[in-house]
Amino acid sequence: MSNIVVLVKQVPDTNAKIVVSGDRVDLSAVKKVMSPYDEFAVETALKHREANGGEVTALTLGGAGADKVLKDAKAIGVDHIVRIDTEDEHDSNALQSALATVLTEIGAEVVYCGKSAADTGAGSTGPGIAERLGWASVSNVISVAFESGLTVIAPSEGGNARISVPLPAVISCDKGDMKVRKPNVKGIMQAKKAKVEVKTVAMQGSTVSVVAHSMPPAKPAGKSYEGGAAAAEVARLLRDEANVI
């Protein structure tokens, strides 16, 4: 019986058009979804529960708007949903400290998270929390087996490594070959009734702060070539500049 926690983050839909207004990204009109790698973390957490028993808690951090990502996790099958309440922006240090505090408070034994969030792409949350808690940590995991303790598979130089992981541990999940389960009406009805447990944590100050957001530079215009005589030059550019052949 394990106390399993999965970290979920609400991010802009990866198909959304991002707009910068003034010096900040304007996400007011953007649809929010669960960060895609977190879906693999939820699936792995549910598999862990099925194999070893226990309960799965989905944990996020944010304002009331972030409850949606918890309800989504509940509709897929987690047992409990918890949000650390904060509306402010925080850096990774502050976030990891707050998450580590609550993970200790709720007695987590194993934590699953996505290998990185679709918005920042930093990939620091899993290892950062493990560091703070002094726990084992494996990143970019593509498969987990639960038969004799926890054994995970993660890419290593030239192939994959099979790694035995002592608990407590933080596992960050990559896509792998797993098919994630989807919600159904029963799950959605349960999610509707489920109450989000809201926790307040004294947030430590951020060590860095965002000064401004800006859009990536526009792609330079493409080059076009005509006629067979240009073939050699095109082949050279594809090889030497684009590095695609």
Binding site: N15, K31, K68, K71, D72, A75, K182, P183, N184, V185, K186, I188, M189, A191, K192
Partner: protein, 391 residues
């Protein structure tokens, strides 16, 4: 193609509950992942994929607004949203769900005995058993009251004789709700696959609803146990109350097909370059796109308000007729205009528009033709029925 994000010019999402939005998104994602990549192949083969039946059951959307007996018990608006998203995939898929929920499960739920409800509904909402609905006959379509299929009371059983036609799911159905005259009065009977004297040959050669099974139901001295008659209703009120629920779902479903065509036309016109510019930059094309959005938005408001009236029980039949008639009509016209915007490419299966267009020709005709719904509304306005020559 650009990812589909729905069409919601008037922010109808703000009128939906959190649960309704989650259910819509669940079905939308499933259609994106499991239907759209397979639909053209299914149409080419003329099959309804069995994996779709399984998935609809697992999602828990069959018989959506029915309560109890393992059924979902959702709002009618949620049911409408499910139909909308399914028909964005294909009208055949929505037809499967409409027939299962509104035409086969609903009459058992409303007019059946406790034993019938307990026996059939849990297995039908889970998708384990497929249902169909036998009302239309070869010679009696808009005029079902004159049906010739009849049932005779043989003492310890009923004997059914007659034939039904244009029956969605017929050949693959485990359970058929069949309307037949007993002593001149229309009654509902539950016929099961394998019943003696019952067969359901598939009708082939359709240019429309190709990913849906359409069948005849043939009854030749078909023996039905006495406990398979639906005791709770007599006359046309039985089948018509089923049709009302299905027509309500169609009024939403047609919008899904229209949204798919609008999305494809918008995306195509922005990328198709003629005379050095995207065709979306030309006024004639913009006029067409603006008209599509206008009609979809009006249809959405109609369907939404009708849905809430269904939920609070303040609706009446003619409102459903108007919504079904209008929304299918505009969807078909939107599909035709979308095909026009796609130019020659519009006839290819690379784009969904011609498939939706062909499907909607059937949708315009089944569940009360466009003209019959006009007559229903004409009777409401004038008080004079114009279905027959006898006033």
């Amino acid at each position: 193609m650009e990812p589909y994000e729905g069409v919601d010019f008037y922010d109808i999402e703000s009128l939906l509950t959190e649960e309704e939005i989650m259910i819509r998104d669940m079905v939308r994602d499933w259609v994106d992942e499991e239907v759209l990549p397979k639909i053209e192949h299914a149409c080419a083969e003329g099959v309804f994929l069995d994996e779709w039946r399984v998935a609809l059951g697992e999602m828990g959307v069959l018989g959506a607004p029915l309560k109890g007996y393992g059924c979902p018990g959702l709002s009618y608006v949620a049911y409408g949203l499910i139909c909308q998203e399914l028909e964005r995939g294909d009208s055949g898929l929505r037809s499967f769900a409409s027939v299962q929920g509104s035409l086969a499960m609903y009459p058992i739920w409303d007019f059946g005995t406790e034993e019938q409800k307990n026996h059939y509904l849990p297995k039908m909402t889970s998708g384990e058993w497929i249902g169909c609905f036998g009302l239309t006959e070869p010679d009696y379509g808009s005029n079902p009251g004159d049906m010739i299929t009849k049932a005779e009371d043989m003492g310890d059983h009923y004997l059914l004789n007659g034939a039904k036609m244009w029956i969605t799911n017929g050949t693959i159905a485990d359970v058929a709700v069949v309307w037949a005259k007993l002593d001149g009065v229309i009654r509902g009977f539950i016929v099961e696959k394998g019943d003696e004297g019952f067969s359901a040959p598939e009708m082939k050669g359709k240019h429309s609803l190709k990913a849906s099974v359409t069948s005849e139901l043939v009854f030749q001295d078909c023996k039905i146990p006495k406990d398979r008659m639906l005791p709770g209703v007599k006359g046309l009120r039985g089948p018509f109350s089923c049709l009302n629920n299905a027509r309500f779902g169609i009024s939403w479903g047609a919008l899904g097909a229209a949204m798919a065509c609008f999305h494809s036309a918008k995306t195509y016109s922005l990328s198709r370059i003629q005379f050095d510019h995207p065709i979306a930059s030309y006024q004639l094309v913009q006029n067409k796109l603006a008209w599509m959005l206008r009609e979809i938005t009006k249809g959405q408001l109609l369907a939404y308000h009708l849905g809430r009236k269904k939920d609070d029980g303040t609706w009446f039949n003619e409102q459903i007729s108007l919504a079904k008639m209008n929304n299918v009509d505009i969807a078909l016209e939107i599909a035709r205009v979308a095909r026009d915007i796609h130019g020659a490419n519009g006839v290819l299966d690379e784009y969904p528009v011609m498939r939706h267009m062909a499907n909607l020709e059937s949708v315009k005709t089944y569940e009360g033709t466009h003209d019959i719904h006009n007559l229903i509304i004409g009777r409401y306005i004038t008080g004079i029925q114009a279905f027959t020559r006898t006033v």
